[in-house]
């Protein structure tokens, strides 16, 4: 049996490096090498869009830790994503400088709103390192305070889901206000450069894409390390029987707080990578609806599977960007329908379906041999196309 686990780990590890190589080497090469009219050419637009999906994948990893593994449904992940994106967005706004529409050092929307002086909380974001570290630490700090009170009061289950949803609504309202000085409804946009590199240059976007892939890989390994540690098993135990966890001498509230803060950090990191690649961050991306959509990514991909979370985030967003081209007004129905379908028919999501297919395949083979393509790799490949 222990041999079996080791074997599974090895094939999982191989799938990880295979997918990593495709994302990190093959995709950029397809973008650079083939001529633009070739079938194999991957357009700058496609690569950039894929970078955005992978950033969402980072967020999905965190959500999977807290929801899939620990069983705590957070409907407020958009808030932490937004905090990360706004931290980076503020830095990008400040580096626009005199290139802005009004030609002043101040961000355009402040000029428009007749703000005379840059608000104090904007000033640290002149620094790039502050923006990078801030976009992870600010969501973490926020989650720490919010989670501390929520978990100490033993708020759980549907009540936790509701208060995190309320949090998303509050954040949306706050970011929408003009006097918060965060750009109001229009958010932060018109970014020109990041540490001196023009965001309009394909090469800059390519580097951002590669950074996103590396961050995703690191986040994946980090989450895997947590899951495989004893603490990871305590998280699963909290989901299975919290009462037993208490009477085994653990304090579930501390574990919940830990995983909530980690999930917030990953959401913030995703937001940080999102802002320069997409070029805009508005309250519409952080409210109740986007937060719900994030839950759907994980449900579709497969709860309690890290690969499933990433797969779900990428495939749902890919589906979204294709389908909204053709039937923009139908997308909410498709998404909702997809969620219902998955919950009713495939509770383990895409990953669960792959596993089932794999086990059927290996059973039907007379020699019981394994399929040539490891399921996880096939899963990710299929999710992409």
């Amino acid at each position: 049996m222990s041999d079996g686990t080791a074997d599974k780990n090895r094939s999982g590890g191989m799938a990880f490096w295979a997918v990593g190589a495709i994302l990190l080497v093959v995709m950029p090469l397809l973008n650079i090498l083939p001529p633009e009219d070739s079938w194999f050419h991957l357009s700058d637009f496609s690569l950039n869009r894929f970078g955005k999906f992978l950033a969402f994948g980072i967020l999905a990893l965190g959500l999977d830790l807290i929801w899939g593994y620990t069983g705590i449904l957070s409907l407020g992940q958009g808030v932490f994503f937004g905090l990360g994106a706004y931290c980076m967005g503020m830095h990008l706004m400040l580096t626009i400088g005199k290139e802005s529409v009004y030609g002043t050092e101040m961000p355009d929307f402040m000029v428009w709103n007749q703000v005379k002086e840059l608000p104090l909380f904007w000033k640290p974001f002149y620094s790039f390192p502050v923006a990078v570290i801030g976009s992870i630490l600010v969501p973490m700090a926020f989650a720490l305070v919010f989670g501390f009170f929520a978990f100490r009061s033993r708020i759980k289950g549907v009540y936790f889901a509701i208060i995190t949803q309320a949090l998303a609504l509050v954040a949306w309202l706050v970011f929408n206000r003009n006097d918060t000085n965060l750009g109001g409804t229009n958010g932060l946009t018109d970014f020109k450069q990041v540490i001196g590199y023009r965001l309009s240059e394909p090469s800059t976007q390519l580097v951002l894409y590669i950074i996103t892939v590396l961050c995703l890989g690191a986040s994946y390994l980090f989450c895997q390390w947590i899951i495989r540690s004893r603490a990871g098993r305590v998280l699963v135990a909290v989901r299975d029987s919290e009462k037993r966890v208490v009477f085994s001498g653990y304090t579930p509230a501390n574990y919940k707080l830990f995983v909530f803060v980690v999930a917030a950090a990953l959401a913030g990191l995703a937001g940080m990578l999102y802002a320069p690649q997409v070029g805009i961050i508005t309250p519409a991306q952080i409210g109740v609806l986007p937060s719900l959509e994030m839950v759907i990514w994980v449900a579709v991909g497969g709860r309690a599977s890290l690969a499933g979370a990433v797969l779900g985030a990428v495939s749902v967003n890919y589906g979204r960007s294709v389908l909204t081209n053709y039937f923009p007004e139908l997308w909410p129905f498709i998404l909702g329908g997809l969620f219902v379908l998955v919950v009713l028919l495939f509770p383990d999501g895409l990953i669960g379906m792959m596993r089932k297919a794999k086990s059927l395949l290996s059973r039907s083979k007379p020699d019981g041999g394994k399929p040539v393509v490891p399921a996880e790799k096939a899963a990710v490949l299929e999710g992409k196309r």
Binding site: R230, R239, D240, S241, F247, Y250, T251, F258, A304
Partner: protein, 278 residues
């Protein structure tokens, strides 16, 4: 000490819980001592001025009709329910009142629940590994902690004790009901408790499993005190040395199985309702 108490009981076959009496038998020697404990659920007194004590390394069986307060008694000891009044003393002088469940676990009180509560998604081995007594059960200790060889030996021995050696890497969720009950007992044992609280361990077990469970509890009682709540009188007769009968939150009678079964009040209240074969 135990013999002494039985003499006392022989003189007073029907012994209502009273504080002075408990004081006399010197709670210095008891591992757990409840002194005039009342638990009030919105006017319903689940425990009513209950005085109850168990000696070190004693195997005590608590019986009583539904709603007598048996499970509440365990809840009060392990901190799940707070007493409205009275004292709960663990060992020589540790007051359990106001302590959190996890603190009480750390003091050495283990609890096995009525419905088997194991971690269904984890393997039997992982279930046991999480339950093992460790110096720290904080987030960072578990994040970086590695199993020692000594710990692995303990888990392996435990697997043998609870008869799940062949199931070490099976998901606990796919075990049979009886196996889950044993797994949970095994988990509690690994916590190294000096007092074990066991709520209806043989509910839903086959006769053979019941018998084995009884032997397991008896062998455990050589090292630690155990309080068992049970309905199955067959099982009670197998394991019990001293039986406590609860009714409406107070102790009605305490003594050997024969004594308890011969008691008129007990017959009236408890055995009268639930016919017991002799």
């Amino acid at each position: 000490m135990g013999g002494n108490r039985l003499c006392l009981l022989r003189k007073l076959p029907c012994w209502r819980g009273s504080a002075e009496m408990a004081e006399q038998s010197s709670f210095q020697n008891s591992i757990i001592y409840l002194d005039g404990v009342t638990v009030d659920y919105d006017g319903f007194k689940a425990l009513n001025n209950l005085t109850f004590m168990v000696d070190y390394k004693e195997l005590r069986v608590v019986i009583g009709p539904n709603g007598a307060g048996k499970t509440t008694l365990l809840d009060v000891i392990c901190g799940k329910t707070k007493a409205a009044s009275g004292r709960v003393v663990f060992g020589r002088d540790v007051d359990l009142k106001g302590k959190h469940e996890d603190e009480i676990v750390a003091l050495g009180i283990g609890r096995k629940f009525q419905a088997p509560s194991v971690y269904g998604f984890l393997s039997v081995w992982e279930n046991l590994d999480l339950s093992l007594k460790r110096s720290s059960k904080g987030v960072f200790a578990t994040l970086f902690g590695k199993s020692t060889a000594d710990e692995r030996v303990r888990i392996e021995k435990n697997l043998e004790t609870i008869g799940l050696k062949d199931y070490a890497h099976t998901r606990a969720g796919s075990l049979s009901h009886g196996q889950k009950q044993w797994l949970e007992i095994g988990m509690v044992i690994l916590q190294d408790p000096s007092l074990l609280l066991v709520d209806e361990p043989v509910a839903g077990m086959t006769d053979e499993e019941t018998e084995q469970t009884g032997q397991l509890l008896q062998s455990l009682a050589e090292k630690q005190a155990i309080i068992v709540i049970e309905h199955d009188m067959e099982f009670v007769r197998q394991i019990a040395r001293v039986v406590t009968v609860l009714h409406e939150g107070t102790v009605i009678c305490e003594g050997s199985v024969e004594k308890v079964q011969a008691d008129d009040r007990v017959r009236e209240i408890y055995l009268g309702r639930q016919k017991v074969a002799h």
